[in-house]
Assembly symmetry: C2
Homo-oligomer: 134 residues x 2
């Protein structure tokens, strides 16, 4: 598996409408897209910071993954996403190394990327996503 860069950092927020002004007016970043991903029960907002995106995540349902995360831990950094050449090949490689996967194969995520999640129990507590453009 060849990781080229950090594709994005996912941050759980209570409200995207409240969070965007903080990222824009305080940090000086620019929101370039807001996108709802129905099957993940989230609304997302994206900011480019160098070669990495910040992906804000607001839950659209209390029983979605972000809703549960915020209920348990409060708002904050939710996951780390590495860019790889090929998500499916990388997931296979991780599987062979005995790493616990949430997604056995890639699925369509935000921005049309092919994404897969790795379980934090196998990644020292960090919910890890790998993603590629294929």
């Amino acid at each position: 598996m060849k990781i080229t860069h950090i594709e994005h950092i996912g941050i759980a927020v209570e409200s995207i409408d409240e969070a965007i002004p903080f990222y824009e007016k305080v940090l000086g970043l620019k929101c370039y897209k807001v996108e709802e991903i129905e099957d993940q029960k989230v609304k997302t907002a994206f900011f480019m910071v160098g070669q990495t995106k910040i992906e804000l995540l607001e839950s659209t349902s209390p029983d979605g993954p972000i809703g549960k995360f915020i209920e348990k831990k409060g708002p904050g950094i939710h996951h780390l996403a590495f860019a790889v050449d090929n998500t499916n090949e990388s997931l296979n490689e991780l599987d062979k190394k005995g790493i616990r996967l949430i997604d056995k194969e890639g699925r369509k995520g935000a921005e049309g990327l092919n994404i897969g999640f790795v379980h934090p129990k196998s990644t020292l507590g960090v919910l890890t996503e790998i993603c590629s453009c294929d």
Copy 2:
């Protein structure tokens, strides 16, 4: 304040000696430095991923910030560090905007950078560091 890129992502780990093989053998990244920062009571290990570093943080004392973090939340992503042109100017700007600061002025951090921390209560739950080479 002009953020140029994500300088590093700080990840709290129980043991750097156990974490380095995971980052190297599973993720294929290369540890280029291990450094102890006495006044922060941490031992750090660095990996370059594109233009961003991953900074693993192992506590050298239970009463240090990383020791307390792991006791409360378990291992995982601890903070996000933005690269800026000038840390002191950026801290002043944030202060004037009413943002709660942990460091009112920059201090020397890992890799010789001038760093300052912003309180997560003012950054929507994300412990945020800003840093520069000056």
